[in-house]
C-alpha cells in the first residue's frame, strides 16, 4: 500500500488546518453560505436533508486495517455508529456537526486519509478496479497510476474551479471492473507491441440525465506521459466546457458538441506543447510508486487445496459463499473474497463500526492487513490463503457480513435516496430492501445467476442505474414516488446504457415488476449458463415489455 512520507503528511495536516480556519470564518459569519459552499464541498462536506454529510476519500478503494479501524472509531464517536460505502469507493458519514468536521479530518490525517476533492467542481477521488494487484487477469497494477493521479490532482491550482465535477477511473485488466466508460476520463491499462505499459484513453462518459458512454481519443498513451496528457484534457475542458447551464457542463457534452475527432485534435495540440515538460514521469518516479505496491510476502502454495474442498463438501452454506463471493487470485493457493454489505433486507453499503472492526481483525489475522472497497458498495479481502477461507467465512458470518450474494440479484447498488439526500425525488433504500427481501432465497438467487440491479433516487444517477442490467430510477409524479425501469445496461467491458421499458411503476408494483423481468429471463434463457444480460441482448426488450404491461 502507499504510505505517506513527510511531504504527504505535512500537506494533509496543513489542509486540515486550512479547513479549520475556513470553518471558523463561516461560524463567525465572515463567510456567507454561498462563499463557504465550494470550500466545504472540496473537502467532501455536504449539507443534506437532515444534517451535514462528510464524504471521506478512500483512494482507489484501498484501506489498511488501521485505517478501517479509524473509520469505525469516527463512525462511533462522531456519527451514529455506522458509515455508508459508495460506488466511488468513498465512505460517507451522515451525522457530523460542522464544528466537529475539522477534528474528524485530523483523525483521518493521522492514518493518512483525507476528504480532499470528494465533492465540488474539481477532479474527484480516482477510482480503480477493487482487485488491482491481485486479479488473475491483470495486465498492470492500476493503483500505481491512481496514486500518481491523486497527487497531481490534489489542490491543482488550475483545475479547482472546473465547469463541473470530473471523475477519472483506471482499470488494469481487460475485464473492466472500474466502469471506465461511464467516467469523464477512463484509462485502460494495456501493453503495446513492444511490451511498453500505457493506456487507452477514453473521455466523455457520464450518467445523470444525459447518459453517454465514453469514446476513445487515444489508442495508446505511454505511461510516462500520463500526467501531461491528463493536464491537456483538463486544460481544454476548463476553457471550453459549458458554464452557462449546469446540466450541460460535464465534459461529455463538450465532447459530443465538439465531435470526438475535433476534441481529440484539441487535446493533442495542447499536449504537443507540454508533453516533454515538467509533468513527464521518469521511470524512476513510476518505479518509486510501484515499490509501495509490491505484493505482500505470499507463501509458495499449491493451487489445489484439499482442506477447502473438504470444508465446502461438508458445509453447504460455506460452499454457496465460496461460489458467489470468492474469486481467483493471481498467486496459486490464494483467493479474493467479497465481504457482502448487502444482507437481505438491509441497507446496501452500510457497515456498522463493529462490522468494520470485525473486517479489520480478519484482515490482520488472514489477509496482510489489507481491505478494499468495491464499486458494488462491498468490501473485499484481497489476499487470503484458500485454506483460511473457512475461518474467514465463520468470522464474517458472526459479524453478519457473509451473505452469499456477490454479483447476484440482491447485491443491489442503491444511492441514499430521499431518506438522506436533498436532491432525491424518491426513496431508494426501502425499494432495495423490499427487492432483496423478495429474493432472499439463496438457492433461487443462485438459480438466477449474475445480474446487476441498481436503484437511483433521482436523475443524477448516483447508483448508476443506466448501466445496470435492471435499472430502477425513482421519479416524482405529482408528489407520489414512481419507479422507472431500464433493461440491458452493462457496467463492464461491454458497457451499455439500458433501455427504458415503459411507464413507471409505483412503490407497490416495482418489486413485482422486477420479479416479472426475472421470470421472463428464466423462461427465455437458453440454459443456466446464459446470464441475464446475454439473454436480453439476444431477445431484446419486447418479451419483457409484453409481460410487464400485459395486464394494463
Amino acid at each position: 500500500m502507499y504510505r505517506y512520507d513527510e511531504f504527504d503528511r505535512t500537506f494533509v495536516t496543513q489542509r486540515v488546518e486550512q479547513f479549520r480556519e475556513q470553518v471558523a470564518r463561516r461560524v463567525s459569519g465572515e463567510l456567507s453560505e454561498d462563499e463557504f459552499k465550494p470550500l466545504r464541498l472540496t473537502n467532501g462536506l455536504y449539507l443534506q436533508l437532515h444534517a451535514y454529510m462528510l464524504r471521506v476519500a478512500i483512494p482507489y478503494g484501498t484501506l489498511s486495517s488501521r485505517q478501517l479501524r479509524r473509520l469505525a472509531f469516527i463512525a462511533r464517536r462522531y456519527d451514529r455508529g455506522y458509515g455508508h460505502f459508495t460506488t466511488r469507493q468513498n465512505i460517507q458519514f451522515n451525522w457530523p456537526t460542522l464544528g466537529e468536521v475539522p477534528d474528524i479530518l485530523a483523525e483521518l490525517a493521522e492514518v493518512e486519509m483525507h476528504a480532499i476533492q470528494t465533492s465540488g467542481n474539481c477532479i474527484r477521488n480516482t477510482t480503480a478496479d477493487a482487485t488491482a494487484g491481485v486479479a488473475a487477469d491483470e495486465i498492470a497494477d492500476s493503483r500505481i497510476y491512481c496514486e500518481l493521479i491523486r497527487q497531481w490532482s490534489t489542490l491543482h491550482p488550475e483545475f479547482s474551479f472546473l465547469p463541473r465535477k470530473f471523475k477519472v477511473a483506471v482499470t488494469g485488466s481487460g475485464r473492466d471492473r472500474a466502469v471506465t466508460a461511464a467516467h469523464d476520463i477512463g484509462l485502460r491499462l494495456k501493453r503495446d507491441a513492444d511490451g511498453r505499459t500505457g493506456f487507452e484513453v477514453l473521455v466523455g462518459g457520464g450518467q445523470g440525465r444525459t447518459p453517454i458512454l465514453a469514446v476513445t481519443i487515444r489508442e495508446f498513451l505511454p505511461a510516462e506521459h500520463l500526467l501531461s496528457y491528463l493536464e491537456a484534457v483538463l486544460r481544454v475542458y476548463n476553457q471550453l466546457g459549458r458554464r452557462d447551464n449546469i446540466y450541460k457542463a460535464r465534459i461529455k457534452i463538450l465532447v459530443r458538441e465538439t465531435g470526438t475527432a475535433e476534441f481529440a485534435r484539441l487535446v493533442e495540440d495542447e499536449w504537443a506543447h507540454i508533453r516533454d515538460g515538467d509533468l513527464a514521469l521518469p521511470e524512476g518516479e513510476i518505479a518509486r510508486i510501484r515499490d509501495y505496491f509490491a505484493p505482500p510476502p505470499h507463501e509458495a502454495l499449491d493451487d489445489a487445496c484439499p482442506e477447502l474442498d473438504a470444508q465446502r463438501a461438508a458445509n453447504r452454506a460455506f460452499d454457496a459463499w465460496v461460489r458467489s463471493n470468492v474469486e481467483a487470485h493471481k498467486r496459486p493457493g490464494y483467493a479474493v473474497a467479497t465481504v457482502s454489505l448487502k444482507p437481505h433486507g438491509g441497507i446496501p453499503g452500510d457497515a456498522s463500526a463493529d462490522q468494520m472492526e470485525a473486517v479489520a481483525d480478519l484482515a490482520d489475522a488472514f489477509g496482510f492487513s489489507e481491505i478494499r472497497v468495491t464499486y458494488k458498495q462491498n468490501l473485499l479481502l484481497p489476499d487470503l490463503r484458500k485454506r483460511d477461507l473457512f475461518a474467514v467465512w465463520r468470522g464474517l458470518t458472526e459479524a453478519g457480513l457473509a451473505t452469499a450474494n456477490s454479483h447476484r440479484l440482491s447485491d443491489i447498488i442503491a444511492c441514499p435516496g430521499l431518506d438522506y439526500c436533498n436532491l432525491a425525488n424518491a426513496r431508494s433504500i426501502p425499494i432495495a430492501q423490499m427487492i432483496s427481501t423478495r429474493f432472499a432465497d439463496l438457492e433461487r438467487e443462485q438459480e438466477i445467476g449474475n445480474v446487476t440491479v441498481n436503484i437511483s433516487g433521482c436523475i443524477n444517477a448516483c447508483a448508476h442505474h443506466h448501466v445496470a442490467n435492471i435499472g430502477i430510477l425513482g421519479v416524482d409524479k405529482k408528489g407520489k414516488e414512481f419507479y422507472q425501469v431500464t433493461l440491458g445496461g452493462a457496467a463492464d467491458e461491454t458497457a451499455a446504457i439500458g433501455d427504458i421499458v415503459g411507464p413507471a411503476f409505483d412503490e407497490d408494483a416495482i418489486v413485482g415488476a422486477v420479479e416479472t423481468v426475472v421470470d421472463v429471463y428464466l423462461a427465455e434463457r437458453r440454459d443456466a449458463a446464459e446470464p441475464f444480460i446475454d439473454t436480453y441482448r439476444r431477445i431484446g426488450i419486447k418479451p419483457f415489455k409484453e409481460k410487464l404491461y400485459a395486464a394494463r
Binding site: 496543513q14 497527487q151 491550482p157 488550475e158 506543447h273 515538467d278 509533468l279
Partner: protein, 199 residues
C-alpha cells in the same frame, strides 16, 4: 479595492475604459478586447502604458501576436467559480512568455489567492476582507504537488532532493575521514530545481 502586487498593497495607476471617447486619456490605460480590435492603430501609436482586459471567455490566444504591446493583462473572474482565467494565466506565462503584470479582477476571494499566484497572476484586485487574509492564504501550504507557474519546486522534486541529501549524508558518514561539509545553498524551493526535475 486594494490592489496587491507581488505581495504588497499598491495604488492602482490604471484607468479602465470601456468606450472609444475615453481613449485619449493620458496615463496607463486598460482597454477591453473590443476596443483594442476596433482602435488598434490609434492605441498602438499611444505613448503611455497600455493594458488589456480579457473576459473569462476570451483566451489570450486571441491576442498572442500582440502581447508585446501590453504592459498589463487583466483577467476577469465574473464569479469566483468561473475558473477559466486560471488556464489563461498559465498560457500567458508558460505558452506566450508574457512577462508584464497579470492581474486578477472581478470576484477575487482570499481562498483563491494561492491558486492564482501559482498560475502566474502577480497582481490581485482584492476586496478589503480578502486582503486581510493574505498572509494566511499564502502560507497555508509549504509545498504543492504539481509543477505550476510559481517557480516553486513541487513535492516530487523536493522528494528527490531530500533523497539525494540523505544519500550524500550516508556517503559522508561512511567516509574514513570526515571533512567539514561545505555549506551548500539549499536547493529546495529554487526555480532551478523545478526546471531540472519536476516529477
Amino acid at each position: 479595492m486594494p490592489l496587491v502586487r507581488n505581495g504588497a498593497a499598491v495604488q492602482d495607476p490604471w484607468t479602465a475604459v470601456t468606450t472609444a471617447d475615453q481613449l485619449d486619456r493620458s496615463g496607463p490605460l486598460l482597454v477591453t478586447l473590443d476596443l483594442w480590435r476596433t482602435h488598434r492603430d490609434r492605441l498602438a501609436g499611444r505613448t503611455g502604458p497600455l493594458g488589456l482586459l480579457l473576459a473569462s471567455d476570451q483566451s489570450p490566444a486571441l491576442v498572442a501576436d500582440d502581447l508585446d504591446r501590453f504592459d498589463l493583462i487583466a483577467l476577469e473572474f465574473p464569479k469566483f467559480t468561473d475558473g477559466r482565467a486560471y488556464s489563461h494565466a498559465r498560457l500567458l506565462r508558460e505558452r506566450f512568455g508574457f512577462t508584464g503584470e497579470v492581474r486578477a479582477v472581478g470576484h477575487v476571494l482570499r481562498d483563491q489567492i494561492a491558486f492564482m499566484l501559482r498560475c502566474g497572476f502577480n497582481a490581485l484586485d482584492l476586496d478589503e476582507r480578502a486582503a486581510t487574509g493574505w498572509d494566511t492564504a499564502t502560507t497555508a501550504f509549504s509545498a504543492w504537488y504539481q509543477p505550476a507557474t510559481d517557480g516553486q519546486a513541487p513535492i516530487p522534486a523536493r522528494r528527490r532532493h531530500a533523497a539525494q541529501a540523505r544519500a550524500a549524508a550516508a556517503v559522508i558518514r561512511s567516509a574514513p575521514v570526515r571533512p567539514e561539509p561545505a555549506r551548500q545553498p539549499d536547493p529546495v524551493g529554487s526555480a532551478v530545481c523545478a526546471a531540472t526535475w519536476a516529477y
